[in-house]
Every structure is written in structure tokens, then in C-alpha cells.
Symmetry: C2
């Protein structure tokens, strides 16, 4: 008999079907019992009232893998409006060890560390898997929108010959006896590929050997990068990103309504033009409105981002806020300086609900200027020769940005720690599972 998935079962009322999945719950009432079977699609309830069948579950722990045949009967009190009767059970893979924590309750009670140690089983919790279906939908929406805008997907190397953006937070590899490094971002390669396709995007892992441990950082994360040529300035990139965000939110509402509801996620409405503040103006605003003087500081602290988003939501009606014109001295050497004030850049961050989720900007496209800047920033031009090559052979004005996938999911779902939005996080203490 062909297997029916749980979400299809209630459309087979009166028929005999075969389900298969994990023993999500089992309430033994003596002569009968309620078994909840979970598969990739959802859950379905089976009523066992035959002693021989009930006997088969003796000694089995939750998460045992079962196959159940039975007749679908209407039952208004069952969550699916139907349940399985007259059941035959087959144990496909017994579980004999009690679970480290309960994964069949609405709320997962395990502390973060215990959860991460047992992620292979913990991720089976209905809310957890809903969260990572949201992640998957964000990636799909991102790609779909950019493909529509004629961006080409690329996959660039993660092993690189020289530490590029910053020597400080790079992982070293032994590459056949030579040193090599893990890419901190696809930045150089996506810029090179603007020379080929004009518009490119990539979704892939990036690696940062940050030695500090915060709830907003991990050492490997998923970066949603795009880069586009023939722009006027950074605002073209911001406009494209706004379109991306609108489409992602649209896709989530269309395709993941059930998961959003389960997780209590209210997606932000993305305005046609997300409000934008220059960093010096944002710092002035913080001083006037919140009384803290961070004017002249090169970056925003988490508290500042939080205040600015509070302001944007209350006064501008937006949960998203662009901050532009970060200081040139604090951005990478390839960042385009502002024409009016070269001490500031045509760089931006996008904040969502109090946390930065995107960094981007216009890049320098003229070879001489880029090379000079590299030297000024203590980057040896010989080390980045392949990158500079693209500029020697003609690059248009261009820019791009990178969304941190886990940051976006964390902010959407209101999670307190980035690790909760990461399938198998890597940090100072954690290399497995």
C-alpha cells in the first residue's frame, strides 16, 4: 500500500490508508490509547484499541518510527477533523532511550545549551522545524526576486589564498602545507563577477573567527549576498534591497502562513521606501531624544540601534530603518567615499526591530583609487592581485549588500539568541553536533 502523508489523511475518510512517521505522543488509557504520529508534513491521531497492537508499543520511547495502517474516520474532536481507526502497527525503528527533553509539548523547555547538545532530536519539535521552514522560504524568496531582476546565481570559493577584509578574524587552513584562509565573505568574488554578469547573487556560508561571544554573533553563518553594476549610488542598492525584503515578506505570508502563526511571527510591513538616516543625524537624534551623546562615534552600539528603531516605528511607522554614511575610517578599503564629505561613506546598514540585519554600500570601481586605498588600509595589493585585476580591466560603478540569514530569522521571530536561528551553530565553544 502506498504511504499517505499526515496532511492528506483527512481527505481519505472511509478509506484504509498507511501512515508512517515518528511516535510523537502516546496516551495509554488501558484498553485503548491515542497515538499521535508525526511525519514531515504534520501530525495525525490514531486510536489503538486492539491489545495486540497496543502491546507492540510496550517499552518504546517517543520518536520510535512507526508505520500504521487504519481506516480514516471523521472525528470532530480530533485536531485534523478525522482520526485513524482499526489500526495495525509496525515498528520500523524502535527508540529505547528516553529523550533528553520533551519535544512533543507546545513549548520546548530545554535550556539553550542542552538544546544545542541535542539539536538532532530537538529540531524535530514542531516550532523548531517551523522556524527552519521560514529560513528556507526566505532563501527561496530572495533568489526568486533577484532572478526576476536578472541577477545570476554564482558559487564562489570558500578557501582563499589571502586574508582579505581583515586579518584579525580569519580562520587559517593547512592547504597542502601552505597557509590558506576561510572566506569572510564572497565580497571580492561577487565584485569580480559584476564584471561578468553585471548582477550576481550568492547564498552561502561565511566564516568569522570572532573571539568574542555574544548573542548576536556566531563564527559561521549564512550570507545572502548580491552585487549590482551600473548604479548611480548606494541608494540604488538600497532600493533593490527594499524590493528583496518586500518579496521575502510576501512569500512568507503566501507560503508559510501556518508556520508564522505557530511561531507567533508578525512580519514587518515593508514600505515602498524604507526610511533612512545619515549616521551623524541618527546620533544627533539619539542625543536629543534619548539623552545619550554618541555623536562622533564610528558605529552604533546595540542600544543605539534599538533606540533608532523605536523612533522609526513610533514616528515614521516603519520597523525597518536604513542608516547611511558610516565613517570611511571604519569601513573596508573598497567602500566608496561620499562626494560631499569624503570622511563618510556611501555605505549603509539596514536595521530591523533594533538589530542590524544587512550591511552594504557602493564600492570604489576605479583601479587607481582602489589600489591606493588598499595601501592606505595596510592591505598589500599583491595579496589581492586577482581582485584588483577585475578593476584593471574595467569595472562599472557598483554596489551590493549582504543579509545575515540567521539575523533576519532571529529578528522576525523575536529570538533572544542567534544560535536559536541557526541549525547547528558554531561558536567559541561549539564545534558539534
Amino acid at each position: 500500500m502506498e504511504r499517505t502523508r499526515t496532511n492528506q489523511a483527512s481527505s481519505h475518510v472511509g478509506e484504509r490508508v498507511q501512515l508512517a512517521g515518528w511516535m510523537h505522543n502516546w496516551r495509554d488509557m488501558g484498553k485503548f490509547g491515542f497515538l499521535v504520529l508525526r511525519d514531515g508534513a504534520g501530525t495525525f491521531q490514531a486510536v489503538l484499541d486492539d491489545a495486540t497492537e497496543i502491546e507492540k508499543l510496550k517499552g518504546l520511547q517517543y520518536e520510535s518510527v512507526l508505520q500504521i495502517e487504519g481506516i480514516v474516520a471523521p472525528e470532530p474532536r480530533a485536531p485534523a477533523g478525522a482520526e485513524l481507526h482499526d489500526c495495525k502497527v509496525e515498528v520500523i525503528a524502535p527508540v529505547l532511550e528516553p529523550l533528553p527533553f520533551e519535544i512533543n509539548k507546545k513549548e520546548l523547555k530545554a535550556g539553550l545549551d542542552v538544546f544545542l547538545n541535542y539539536a538532532p532530536v530537538g529540531l524535530r519539535h514542531l516550532e523548531k522545524r517551523a522556524l527552519f521552514r521560514v529560513s528556507a522560504e526566505i532563501m527561496a524568496g530572495y533568489r526568486e526576486y533577484l532572478r526576476q531582476q536578472d541577477f545570476v546565481e554564482i558559487q564562489t570559493p570558500k578557501i582563499v589564498g589571502s586574508a582579505t577584509e581583515s586579518g584579525a578574524n580569519v580562520f587559517r587552513i593547512d592547504y597542502f602545507g601552505r597557509p590558506a584562509y576561510l572566506a569572510q565573505s564572497p565580497q571580492f568574488y561577487k565584485q569580480i563577477m559584476v564584471g561578468v554578469f553585471e548582477r550576481v547573487f550568492e547564498i552561502g556560508p561565511v566564516f568569522r573567527a570572532e573571539k568574542h561571544s555574544t548573542s548576536r554573533h556566531t563564527n559561521e553563518y549564512v550570507s545572502l549576498d548580491f552585487e549590482m553594476g551600473f548604479i548611480t549610488d548606494h541608494t540604488d542598492v538600497m532600493a533593490m534591497l527594499t524590493g528583496v525584503m518586500r518579496h521575502i515578506v510576501h512569500r512568507l505570508k503566501e507560503s508559510r502562513a501556518r508556520e508564522l502563526e505557530l511561531l507567533g511571527i508578525r512580519v514587518p510591513s515593508v514600505p515602498d521606501a524604507i526610511p533612512s538616516l545619515r549616521l551623524p543625524d541618527a546620533q544627533q537624534l539619539i542625543f536629543e531624544r534619548f539623552g545619550e551623546d554618541c555623536r562622533g562615534e564610528p558605529d552604533l552600539a546595540p542600544q543605539h540601534e534599538s533606540w533608532l528603531c523605536q523612533y522609526a516605528e513610533q514616528e515614521l511607522g516603519s520597523e525597518l530603518l536604513f542608516i547611511t554614511h558610516y565613517p570611511t575610517s571604519k569601513r573596508p578599503f573598497y567602500t566608496y567615499p561620499d562626494d560631499q564629505d569624503p570622511s563618510l561613506t556611501k555605505g549603509f546598514d539596514l536595521l530591523l526591530r533594533g538589530c542590524e540585519i544587512v550591511t552594504g554600500g557602493q564600492r570604489i570601481h576605479r583601479y587607481e583609487q582602489l589600489r591606493e586605498n588598499a595601501v592606505k588600509w595596510d592591505v598589500n595589493p599583491e595579496d589581492i592581485d586577482g581582485y584588483l585585476q577585475a578593476f584593471r580591466y574595467g569595472m562599472p560603478p557598483h554596489g551590493g549588500c549582504a543579509i545575515g540569514l540567521e539575523r533576519l530569522v532571529m529578528q522576525l521571530a523575536g529570538l533572544p539568541n542567534l544560535r536559536e536561528a541557526t541549525l547547528f551553530p558554531r561558536d567559541l565553544d561549539r564545534l558539534s553536533p
Copy 2:
């Protein structure tokens, strides 16, 4: 004025448009000249007949970035059926250095090594970029099909705490003073995630520290992985893969007909059921048909794969061929043994036009059997504790496979070396660009 892309220009006959792109070609005829401008969409010809405008190109090398305004005029002899007249040129980024090789000719004449050294400019060649648009379309087709089949996309860590599949070909990282490794495949994680979603896929980099240098191997490549639960055996995986391949070919024909034509790619027709041979039978066939006795060998050599594909094409009418039942001793410890003959596995390879492009199979899903096998294969169960955890807590029968993206592109396009199908290849000698 808003920029028009080259592929849209001929639909603006009689209008003044602005194009922008790279100086792909320039034929100076004295009082006038033909300029071919290339952008991300294609090329378009502009006729320059004003001395002031022609003067602006003096000293400029190919690949200079230009903006050209002009009036679109019908011209049957021009490739697009129209060309640009009355042109005003603006130089956006001049190129002053001659190119390392010609990239505006139909054929790229550079040797592989020179090409790879200058990939940032070489990839701009029209055939090269067509090839990587084919790559992008394969990824899109792969994801689209699997999403339709209810697979969930995952992104798993590339830094792992222990060398898993084989200690021999793994790259070591210094992870905050501790040893860590680059993932040789997402194998363990995609299996773990079968416990969560039943069906998962991932497209991402994998790393193999193979010390030999062949035209079929590089040290970092893009792996198209999927894994599915509740299968009967490996043939369910093969059937899913067949569907994937059919869809990829369909997408290529629908969306990349122009690129296929430019590259002279004839896509294979994928039969409803790709023919399949057991390894021992395949070796017997080689012996009888081609006179070489490789019976009893644990794997196929490139020549054997070539002969088998020759046979399959001539006798079975298929350019694709499954080989199944590789020896248990030569497959990883998690491979499911054949029920009839446990010295063979429920593992398979898929060959295309004489080269393996996919490896897959059914996996062991019972905890005790898997743990015992690990020990037998000299893998310390403690080192793979996170992986085994999924099995302690119930795993269904499952299997999956991995397509090598560059292998597939190489075979489709008939390229002699995998490096030609890789954007920025990594091998024993090459870490940049």
C-alpha cells in the same frame, strides 16, 4: 535618461536611448567606426561618425566601461537588426592595459593555466559566461523540482569537529587553538535532518584534500545534495534523481536555449527510467564486449565508465546509466548492505557520457547496526556522537545522493577539464584568484 539594456535596444527603433557596458570591440574605419558594447544581457553595435566622439576612444583598451547615448536605427546587417546612430560617448572607467588574451573573439584561445590566472577578465568571454548561466539554471532547476516534491532546503555547517567520512582527504583548520575540519560533504547533517523534515536538500561547497591532480577533480566543489526518508530502498532515490535530471534538462531547454546553442550543448534525453546495471554485471559486460577483465575490482576506472556509457548509448539508447551494488568494503560505513549479498551495497553511481556525476544510495538507519559498522570501519563512535544521536532517537529507512555541479556541467558541455566548469578552481597549485 534611464539606461536601456542591449537586449531591449532594438525594440526602441527611432528613439534616443542610453546604453552602458564594456567596449567589447572597436573597428576604427577612419572617419567612422563600429563599436560593439557588451553588457550583462548581450551586445549591441554603435556607429561612431563624429570625430569628437571617436577621439574619446583614443588610447582606450578593450573592456573600458562606456556609456553611449544614441538613436536606434534599423539595420538588417547588424546582428540585432538595429544599431545605434548619432552617438555620444562617455567613458565611465578607462582600461589602459592590453588584455592578457582576446575575449571578443568567438573562440577563446588562452591555454587553461593562463585563462585561470586571468579568470576575472576571461570569464567575461561570451561563451564562458553562457556556461555559468547554465550552471545557475541547473541549480535553479534542482531546487525547483525538489521543492515541488516537498523537500526543505537546509544550510549545514562547513566547519566540523571531527573528520568523518575519511581522515585522509580532509582539510584541517585552526579553530581557536583546537583542530577542526572542513566538511567533505553535508552527509551526516542531511541525514540528521531527515529526522526533522523527512526530505531535505542543500547546495553548497564541499572540500576534499585530494593530493592527486586529475582533470576530473578539484579540492573544492559545489555539491547538490538531497536526502529522503521512508524509502523502500535505493531505487526510490534513483527514481527521485531521475525526476531531478529530467527537470533540469527541461529547465535548460526552456530558459537557456540561447546559451545551449552558443555552447553547442546537446542536452541528453532523460528516459522515464534510466537503465541500470549491477557493478558485477557491468564488469562482466566490459569483459565480454571490450575484452578487459576488471571483474572483482571494487570500482570502475574512467575507461570502464566510458565503455559502459558507450554500451548504454548504443544498445539501450541512453546517455545516462546507473551502476549499482558497489562493494560494501569500498563504500562508507553508513551504506546499506544488499539484502541478498551483504558484500555488496544498495549504493549507486550515475554516469553521464562516460563520467560519474552522482553518487548515492540507501543508508543504514538502525542505531546498533550503524554503530557496529562505524567501529568496523575504524571510526570512533564518540567522534560522531552528534550524528549517531539522530539514530538513537529514531530514523526511518532513508537514502540520498549528491550531484557534482561542475562534473555535470563539464559532461553537458563536453569540456576536457573540470576546472573549465568551475568559476575559480582550487587545486594543489591554485588558491587564487
